[in-house]
């Protein structure tokens, strides 16, 4: 918000005059002028609690010492922080805090970065305490978080963080007085979100990470600020290493788009890179088996085979698939290699699994392929709409922004999610929702249509839109009147009035943001749903307003970058359509190469062509279609038919095991580059360890191959590539702290409203009939767990301790119906296949539905059928009706 409108006050601190906004706390005002007031319980993210009493200061005209952390500044206030009285007070409070402290600094992991140590040193604190120290029994707390309650200073930062920021409430003070200790609820080890926030925020060594227990002193560690490689939130994190060993990850307060907050994946999931199964040498297939070889031999073999196959079949015989986990530089070089050196548009990336649905919708309606808002706008929003995000588990840090907007800034939250609003061990966004619509994953569209119908029926359409685009409004109105409120009620079980109330709130909002995620985007109606959400914003007149916008959440860390780099059949870099002559011309000129004209095949198309025999060779970088796609696609069979399959991988995956050549790739912990997060912010990735074994960044492989093929792309380092990207497309010019989002393109919007809306309008406005399920069956979905991301995280020892195998989440009522207990084994059968798994009872899963984490999904993919969106070519296979049977 504009700061100029906030009134300021002037006060003096230790004789220095300072001007700060009204409402600033004394401790913050002092920090501005470099006066550090000692404190334990205060933290800028938390509401002041003033319990440690360490920050006492003298304030003129106040009889007693005041806590600087809870006193707001006042005009003309005079604060003294270093008088004898204040120093004595600080020393005496420190003496109290140290009284029961065990002083086990030599074995404490916090030693060297401990506030209590630092202040004791600063105040040369001595103690007159000669009594018996209070001792808490050591208790096992959890697999990843260690508590040592004797060290606790009872500042309650952990408890408050867990409640105020995370909305989890897993921790609580137990006991009274000196016997107060921090515990969790229930007679079992801690089972929370494991965001690591309590570890990060603890000022002493009371809560520490077991992953790095007793392993280091802070000054032994080398630090690298980089970006997390799991989800699209793009959190900045500091990776700390000792030699080649990954020791710890944290994130400083104020750092990055995440403001220092991390989730379980970021905080505890860093060991994937150092898993012992990492590929360290190139492998080549000899006599049917993969054997170790040298880079020279492997690359020469690949180059020779490529030349041969290209001569025989041309560029169209090739295909390329790359993971959205690669850096922008790698994605760019990859597609440049495929288009320029090989001569094909047969390129795809993991963005195809769902993210592309939203980007095509945005391109069509608003002319941009990026958010028109930022995380800061989410914080400032007054109405937030979440549609099929499952945000706590998929994009937890964006989830924190939503929580802050709702809890601290009083935004109104509308949710269309497959969640029951219940309190359990993880935060549940439905609990914060003011208007919650519980809709099964396959029917998300019905919820959106409910809101739209309410907008039409209650006449909440912006008059301007009705006047200027009557045909559009009429078409939408007609489509929405094709079904009645009764039909909608029958389909969703939700009263019309609920939709009307929510729609009224939405229409009255001034800063409205719609967030959507995997549950919608990876469903059969992913594209249609995105378009209808954009229609919703359009009709209510929000779409082009500042602070309003449509914000799809990317699943993988660089899905957005993959599209923007052109690592996708239909787009050149900058998301220019590959068939646009002017853009092709531009890139031909830039790359000094001819570019292929033939329309590229997307993911599933490529596999079909391989099956049919028209696609002969594939480069697969970090993707694992064999384990990810439903059996119906026959990915394995298709890949086996190829004459050449080159895989660049961290691990020997199911797909890599089929390859003719496997090249070891460096993980994001080992290379330079940039990632583009879900809001379109480009951030620097920096190496924290040397590449494991002989592994190399993927771009080096393509640069080397291009030289061998006689069409050199010469880059000395990844910076050179970034330089070329910057010249080629906008949005990559600076790595500044605050991204400026693009604005809605009015001409594109105009085009959409005049005629662009017409194709398949009636199809997308059709209600989805609720699936009639025979008794004894469930609607099973494929979903993302908070503790994993893709399949990469299943190599992380920390996360495996939290979730080591895939378990089917079902509602307790369904469990009772099938006479199942937590951990029981069941056999699931669908029309396509069957699998056996354990169940996990979760109250938040709505009755009649169930979901299975896709990270462990090799067995589960057999259950699903696949539908391909005719426009965006997104394969959707996330839901199936299954029957369930208990097995021994």
């Amino acid at each position: 918000m504009p700061e100029s409108t906030t009134p300021t006050v002037r006060l003096t601190i230790d004789g220095i005059t300072v001007k700060v906004p009204k409402g600033t706390l004394v401790i913050e005002a002092a920090r501005r002028i470099g006066v550090m007031i000692p404190h334990f319980c205060y933290h800028p993210k938390l509401k002041p609690d003033a319990n440690c009493r360490m920050c006492l200061v003298e304030i003129e005209k106040m009889p007693k010492l005041q806590t600087a952390c809870s006193t707001p500044v006042d005009e003309g206030m005079s604060v003294r922080t270093a008088t004898t009285v204040v120093n004595d007070a600080h020393r005496s409070v420190l003496e109290f805090i140290l009284a029961n402290h065990p002083l086990d600094c030599p074995v404490c992991d916090q030693g060297g970065k401990c506030d209590l140590q630092d202040f004791s040193h600063q105040y040369t604190a001595t103690s007159r305490f000669v009594e018996t120290k209070r001792i808490f029994q050591k208790e096992y707390f959890s697999p990843l978080i260690e508590t040592q309650m004797n060290r606790c200073v009872q500042c309650l930062r952990c408890v408050r963080y867990c409640d105020e920021v995370m909305d989890v409430k897993a921790l609580a003070p137990v006991g009274r007085g000196t016997m107060t200790e921090i515990k969790h609820f229930g007679p079992h080890p801690l089972n929370c979100e494991f965001c690591g926030g309590c570890v990060q925020i603890c000022p002493v060594g009371a809560i520490t990470s077991r992953l790095s227990m007793y392993e280091y002193r802070p000054w032994m560690l080398k630090r690298a600020d980089t970006i997390c490689g799991y989800c699209g939130d793009g959190c900045q994190m500091t990776v700390q290493t000792k030699d080649q060993e990954l020791i710890e990850v944290n994130s400083a307060h104020g750092a990055g788009r995440n403001n220092g907050d991390l989730c379980a994946r970021g905080f505890f999931g860093f060991h994937a890179a150092s898993h012992p199964d990492r590929l360290t040498h190139p492998l080549i297939r000899r006599n049917g088996a993969l054997v170790q070889t040298t880079w020279e031999e492997a690359l020469e073999y690949v180059a020779n085979r490529v030349s041969e196959l290209k001569d025989m079949h041309g560029g169209q015989g090739f295909g390329g698939l790359i993971s959205g986990r690669c850096t922008n530089e790698e994605l760019y070089v990859f597609q440049k290699f495929m288009r320029g050196a090989i001569g094909t548009n047969n390129i795809d990336s993991s963005a195809r699994y769902g993210h592309v649905n939203s980007l095509h919708a945005m391109r069509l309606v608003q002319g941009t392929h990026r958010w028109t808002v930022t995380f800061d706008d989410v914080l400032d929003a007054d109405v937030l709409v979440l549609v099929g995000t499952n945000i706590t588990e998929t994009n937890p840090i964006t989830g924190l922004k939503v929580k802050e907007a709702v809890k601290k800034r009083r935004a109104t939250l509308i949710t269309i999610e497959s969640l029951e609003p219940v309190i359990d061990t993880m935060s549940n966004i439905a609990n914060l929702s003011h208007h919650h619509f519980r809709i099964p994953p396959s029917e998300m569209q019905n919820g959106i249509l409910g809101l739209l119908k309410a907008v039409i029926e209650e006449n909440l359409i912006l008059p301007d839109i009705s006047q200027r685009y009557p045909a559009y409004v009429k078409a939408v109105t007609t489509a929405l009147r094709a079904f009645s409120w009764q039909d909608l009620h029958r389909a969703t079980g939700i009263e019309p009035d609920s939709f009307i109330q929510a729609a009224k709130v939405l229409a009255a909002g001034r800063r409205v943001i719609v967030l959507t995620g995997q549950v919608l985007l990876r469903s059969e109606r992913g594209y249609a749903g995105s378009l209808t959400l954009l229609d919703l914003l359009m009709l209510t007149g929000k779409l082009d307003q500042p602070g309003c916008g449509f914000a799809p959440l990317a699943e993988e860390n660089n899905d957005q970058g993959a599209v923007e780099m052109g690592a996708i059949a239909e787009f050149l870099p900058g998301a220019c359509f590959a068939d646009n002559a002017a853009d092709r011309e531009r890139f031909m000129h830039l790359w000094k190469r001819d570019l292929p004209l033939t329309v590229g095949a997307s993911l599933v198309d490529m596999l079909h062509r391989a099956q049919a025999g028209s696609l002969k060779a594939m480069f697969i970088v970090g993707e694992n279609p064999v384990a990810s796609l439903p059996a119906q696609i026959r990915a394995e069979d298709s890949l086996r038919k190829l004459d050449l399959l080159v895989c660049q991988e961290l691990f020997l995956t199911e797909t890599a095991a089929l390859a003719h050549v496997v090249l070891p790739a460096a993980s994001s912990m080992e290379k330079n580059g940039t990632f583009t997060n879900t809001e379109g912010h480009v951030q620097a990735v920096r190496p924290s360890i040397e590449p494991i074994g002989e592994s190399r960044p993927d771009w080096e492989v393509f640069a080397a191959l291009s030289i061998l093929l006689g069409m050199p792309m010469e880059y000395a380092e990844s910076k050179d590539i970034l330089k070329e990207i910057r010249g080629a497309i906008s949005g990559y010019t600076s790595l500044g702290p605050t991204p400026l989002p693009p604005k809605v393109d009015r001409t594109a919007m105009d085009r959409y409203l005049s005629q662009g809306y017409q194709p398949d309008l009636t199809t997308r406005y059709r209600l989805i009939a609720p699936q009639s399920r025979p008794d004894g069956t469930l609607q099973m979905g494929f979903g993302q767990s908070l503790f994993h991301s893709g399949k990469l995280s299943t190599r992380s020892k920390g996360l495996l301790q939290l979730e080591g195998n895939g378990r089917l989440r079902i509602n307790p009522v369904d469990a009772a119906r099938f006479a199942l207990m937590d951990g029981d084994r069941v056999r699931l059968c669908s029309t396509s296949g069957e699998m056996t798994t354990e169940i996990k009872i979760m109250e938040r899963v709505p009755q009649g539905t169930a979901w299975f984490p896709d990270h462990f999904g090799q067995a589960a993919v057999g259950l699903f059928e696949c539908a391909i969106d005719p426009i965006t070519h997104v394969p959707s296979f996330r839901t199936a009706t299954v029957s369930m049977m208990k097995v021994a």
Binding site: A50, C52, L65, T67, F129
Partner: protein, 434 residues
């Protein structure tokens, strides 16, 4: 024995008075409500209470009318009244009797207060152990609701005031008004940082008044007999009305005695409580509950009103007068109270949490004849470092017994230490730098 007119204890002193609605109405009960509701403007009720000079009977003695005046005038939305019945101060037992023996007197006061401050909901936060009191109150509320004194549309005036009884769960700190509000909200009962004060941000962040049981019980009498009448009782102008003193300790007849403010402890003990139980002279007394510093026989003629007791170095507090006879060990007495404060320190702020544990251990050591002379200075220094540096007044209260006994009976401490040194028990050395 000088006869003072009873006000609060009058009904229950009548033989056969049961505290039922019928009995209460017979004595003129709920007439003040009929006289006031809809007939005197709420602001005028507040002005009358302010004029009467009524001050809070819970301990702090804040003028009731002034407290009500702090509520925001133009606030739209609910306001709350909380009746603080979490009477847990050692040596204090007046509220319990007022609630158990004459509940309607309290309820009438609550409804009057609700009317004055514009609250439609009142909560009685009663100490968890007072099961009987809570049952009696709930029964009385049902009676009053049926008779139209409580609930919707009271006496046909269109005004509402509902009253709910909430039992605490056994923490002394929940008698502190902000901890009471936290507990009432269902949270851990820990004091809140002030400001903001409950008057603006109280229960559920709404404007709230927290009044003591005895304070509220005075309201019907002020409304029916006028503020001038009330202001003339006791020691005007600052301490008006009567006080129900809870006399306990080494006296012949411990109990609740209602007397005008300003009588002396001597009169209370010798003329009301029947003198000392073994006719030994008084050695020490606490004038206002465990939180008030000890006083000596030299203070027996101090008038028991807010100003005089404060001037003597103690406080009138909750009105719990505990009397100790000659021969009582003052170190033991101080430790006994310190043990209580150690047990009840909520643990929210460091000085009180750590300090109470430290003080109690040192005191135990001194009493066990393992003390050192420097411990006495440490005790005083720790007391100084706790008082005034905590969120709530608990920190000030817990140091009172040690500070006052060290002030008046230091020799008893010295004797114990000397005995320890003579016995040459284990020497303790300070830990030095941590």
């Amino acid at each position: 024995m000088p006869r003072h007119e009873l006000i609060l204890l009058k009904n229950m002193s009548e033989p056969g008075y049961t505290g039922s609605l019928v009995d209460y109405e017979k004595t003129g009960g709920y007439q003040a409500l009929r006289k006031t509701l809809g007939k005197i403007a709420p602001a005028d009720v507040t002005a009358m209470v302010r004029k009467s000079g009524l001050r809070g009977r819970g301990g702090a003695g804040f003028p009731t009318g002034v407290k009500w005046g702090f509520l925001p005038k133009d606030y739209q939305g609910p306001r709350y009244l909380c009746c603080n019945a979490d009477e847990s101060e050692p040596g204090t037992f007046k509220d319990r009797q007022l609630m158990e023996r004459d509940p309607h007197q309290v309820l009438e006061g609550i409804v009057l207060s609700c009317y004055a401050i514009g609250a439609e909901t009142a909560f009685i936060y009663i100490r968890g152990e007072m099961v009987l009191g809570s049952k009696i109150l709930e029964h009385a509320i049902a009676e009053a609701r049926a008779a139209g004194y409580i609930g919707k549309n009271i006496l046909g005036t269109g005004l509402h005031a509902d009253v709910w009884v909430h039992r605490g769960a056994g923490a002394y700190i929940c008698g502190e008004e902000t901890a009471l509000l936290e507990s009432l909200e269902g949270k851990r009962g820990l004091p809140r940082t002030k400001p903001p004060f409950p008057a603006t941000h109280g229960l559920y962040n709404k404007p709230t008044v927290v009044n003591n049981v005895e304070t509220l019980a005075n309201l019907p009498h002020i409304m029916s007999r006028g503020p001038e009448w009330f202001a003339a009782i006791g020691s005007p102008p600052k301490s008006t009305g009567t006080r129900v003193f809870c006399v306990s300790g080494h006296v012949k007849r411990p109990g609740n005695y209602e007397v005008p403010m300003g009588v002396t402890v001597r009169e209370l003990v010798y003329e009301h409580a029947g003198g000392m139980r073994s006719d030994k002279p008084i050695k020490a007394f606490i004038p206002g509950g465990a939180s008030a510093p000890f006083l000596t026989p030299a203070h027996l003629d101090v008038k028991l009103d807010f100003e005089s007791v404060a001037a003597a170095g103690s406080m009138l507090g909750s009105g719990g007068v505990t009397v100790m006879e000659e021969g009582t060990s003052m170190v033991w007495a101080a430790l006994r109270l310190m043990e209580f404060f150690y047990h009840e320190s909520c643990g929210k702020c460091s000085p009180c949490r750590e300090g109470s544990a430290w003080l109690v251990q040192t005191m135990r050591r001194i009493l066990a004849k393992r003390g050192r002379m420097e411990d006495l200075e440490t005790l005083l220094d720790l007391c100084k470092n706790i008082a005034g540096r905590t969120i709530c007044a608990f920190g000030d209260a817990e140091v009172a017994p040690i500070q006052s006994t060290l002030k008046y009976w230091r020799q008893e401490y010295v004797d114990l230490v000397n005995e320890a040194e003579a016995a040459n028990l284990i020497r303790l050395e300070p830990a030095g730098r941590p």
